[in-house]
Symmetry: C2
Subunit: 334 residues, 2 copies
C-alpha cells in the first residue's frame, strides 16, 4: 500500500558543531512495494558520532551524505508489506535505512532479526555495531591479555560502557573517564574501578596517573585531544591503544592540537591502531556467543537514552556532542 513517511535530510553541511538548521524534515509518499521489494516501518533508529564525518564532503571510508537527501544509518523496523518471498508482514528487520519513518527496499538490503528474547533496539546497541566495536577494539586491536590495566574514554557511552564491562568480566582493573556525576555513578554501577570525571579534573594526566599508579596497558580511545595525551603519558611499555574515535575533534574548525607527547610511543614501544568495525564483522558470532552468556548470567548491564519521533532525531544526534547521552542514544520511531 502507499503510505507517507517523514525523513531527515541534510540541509547544509555543518561547520563546527552541527546545529538544528543543518537538518530538515521532509515528507514523502511511498508507493506499494514493487516486485522483490519490501515495505518497512521503522521502530527504532540509531544516531552515532561517526555520522558527523559523513556530513563533511571529503573522501573517507564511507561516502559523504548528500545535501537534500535523507541521511542513512542503522534502524530496526517491522515489515508491513512484502513482494519478496523471504519476508512477510510482521517480520523484524535491521537495515541501514534509518533517519526515516518507513521505506521500500529490495529484500537483499535487509537482514531478518531474531532477537533471542532481547528488546529489538539492543541490536542497535550492545548486541549491534557499538557492542561489536567494543569487543573488536578490546580483544583484537588492543589484544587484551591477563593483567592489563585498561583505560577507557567516553566510558559511559554506547561503546565505552561495553568496553568497561567486557574488561571487568575478564578480570581487569578498569579506569573510565566520563563527564558529570550521573555518568560517574553509572560507571561505578557497572563495576569500573576508578572513575575520572574529566569535567572536574584540571589536569587529566595527573588524574590518570593517580587512578593508575602502575600505569595503563590498554587505552580504548573514543575522545582524542587531552585524553590521548594523558594516555600516552601514563602508558606502560608495550601498551596498546585501540583508536575507535576521537569525538572531541569532530567539530573543530581549526587544525586540532595533536598529541604533543606522541614521541613517547617510540621509547615505550607503544602501538596505536585505528579500526573500523565493518572490517571485523567476522568476529560477530564470537561476540554474540560471549554476550549471550554474560546477559543470561546477569553480569552485563546497559543503559539507553531515548528520544521519541523522527522530528527529534537531529536533536538526539546533537546531544552526542554535548555529552547528554548515557549508554546508547536511540530514537524511537513507533
Amino acid at each position: 500500500m502507499s503510505i507517507t513517511s517523514k525523513e531527515v535530510r541534510l540541509k547544509s553541511r555543518p561547520v563546527g558543531l552541527p546545529v538544528a538548521d543543518n537538518f530538515e524534515i521532509a515528507q514523502v509518499q511511498l508507493p506499494a512495494p514493487g516486485a522483490g521489494e519490501v515495505q518497512v516501518k521503522n521502530l527504532w533508529m540509531t544516531v552515532d558520532p561517526y555520522m558527523r564525518g559523513r556530513m563533511m564532503d571529503r573522501e573517507s571510508y564511507v561516502p559523504p551524505f548528500q545535501i537534500g537527501e535523507a541521511l542513512q544509518g542503522g534502524a530496526i523496523g517491522e515489515v508491513v508489506a512484502s513482494e519478496d518471498a523471504n519476508f512477510k508482514a510482521g517480520d523484524l528487520v535491521s537495515s541501514m535505512f534509518g533517519w526515516r519513518e518507513a521505506f521500500n527496499a529490495p529484500g537483499g538490503a535487509l537482514q531478518k532479526l531474531d532477537t533471542h528474547g532481547l528488546p529489538p533496539q539492543t541490536f542497535l546497541g550492545v548486541a549491534g555495531m557499538p557492542g561489536l566495536t567494543a569487543y573488536v577494539g578490546l580483544i583484537k586491536i588492543a589484544a587484551l591479555k591477563p593483567g592489563d590495566v585498561v583505560f577507557v574514554s567516553a566510558a559511559a557511552g554506547a561503546v565505552g560502557s561495553v568496553v568497561c564491562q567486557i574488561a571487568k568480566i575478564k578480570g581487569h582493573t578498569v579506569i573510565g573517564s566520563a563527564g558529570g556525576p550521573e555518568k560517574a555513578a553509572f560507571l561505578k554501577e557497572i563495576g569500573v574501578d576508578h572513575v575520572i570525571d574529566y569535567k572536574v579534573e584540571k589536569d587529566l594526566t595527573a588524574a590518570l596517573a593517580k587512578a593508575a599508579p602502575k600505569g595503563i596497558d590498554v587505552y580504548f580511545e573514543n575522545v582524542g585531544g587531552e585524553h590521548l595525551d594523558a594516555a600516552l603519558a601514563v602508558a606502560n611499555p608495550f601498551a596498546r591503544f585501540a583508536l575507535c574515535g576521537m569525538i572531541s575533534q569532530y567539530n573543530v574548525t581549526e587544525a586540532p592540537k595533536g598529541p604533543s607527547n606522541i614521541m613517547l610511543a617510540v621509547g615505550k614501544s607503544l602501538r596505536l591502531e585505528g579500526f573500523i568495525v565493518s572490517n571485523h564483522f567476522d568476529m560477530l558470532p564470537q561476540y554474540v556467543a560471549e554476550l549471550s552468556g554474560w546477559i543470561q548470567s546477569g553480569q552485563f548491564k546497559w543503559k539507553e537514552t531515548v528520544e521519541t519521533g523522527i522530528e527529534n532525531a537531529p536533536a538526539a544526534f546533537l546531544k552526542l556532542f554535548s555529552g547528554e547521552n548515557m549508554g546508547k542514544m536511540l530514537v524511537k520511531l513507533a
Copy 2:
C-alpha cells in the same frame, strides 16, 4: 700496564639544542687490568641521536647519563692486555664503553668481534645496531609485504639509508626524505625512486602526495613533526608506521606540536608502533645472514661520515642535529 685515556663527560644537561659546553674532556689513568678484566683501546665509537634522550634527567627505557661521568655508547676496540682467559691482546671487541679512548672492563661486558672481512666500524653501522634497527622496523614492526609503497624520513641517515636499500632490494617503491642536494644524490645512488628534499619543499604533504600518487603503505619514522603529519595525510588504509625516532623533536624546549591529523588513524585503520631495537636482538642472526648476501652480491652500499679524535666526539654528536652527516656518523679514535 697503566695507560692514560681521555674521555668525554657530561658537564651539564643540554636545554634545547646541545652545545659544546655541555661536554668536557677529561684524562684518566687506567691501572693494569685486574683479575678477570680486559684492557681495551677503542678504535671507533658511535654517536647516535637516541643519546640525546639520555642527557635528560628523566625516566626512560635507558637510564640517564650522569653529570661528571663519562658518556656511554657503542665502540669497537682492540684488546691491549687481558686477565680474562677468553681474550688476548689483538682481539677485536665491541662494547658499550664508547666516548673514551681506552678502558678496563670485565670480560663479560665485551663481545669478541669476527668481522667476516668487513671494516670493523661497519659493526657500529650497517652491520650493527643502526642496520638491525632498520631491519626490525621494516620487516617486523611495519610488517612489510609485497606491493607496499615505503616512505622513509631521514632517509640518508645511518638507519634510513639501510631502510631504503632493504626495501629496494625487496622490490618496493621507495620515497625518501632528506635535506640538501648531496643527500638527495646519495639517495638516488642507492636506488630510491622519489627523493623529497624537505629543505626546499614548502608543503611536505603536497610533496609526498605528488611522489606517492597511490599513497604510502609503510612509513619508517625517524623525524616526527611535519613528516608525521604528511605521512598520516598520504597513508593508505591499513598502512603501518614504524616509529623509530623523532629527531625533529629531541631538542624542542616547549611542548612540541603533535600531529594535528592523528584522527586519520581511525578512519584509515592505521597502525603506529614504536620500537626499541634492544627488544629485538633475536632478529640479529636473520639480519646478518640477509645482509651478508646483499653485500657479497654488491647490492648494498653504505656511507660513513667520520670525525677523528676523542676531542671531536661532541662535535660529531652535534652534527647529527644539524643534519651534517650522511650515512653513519662515526668517530675514529685510533
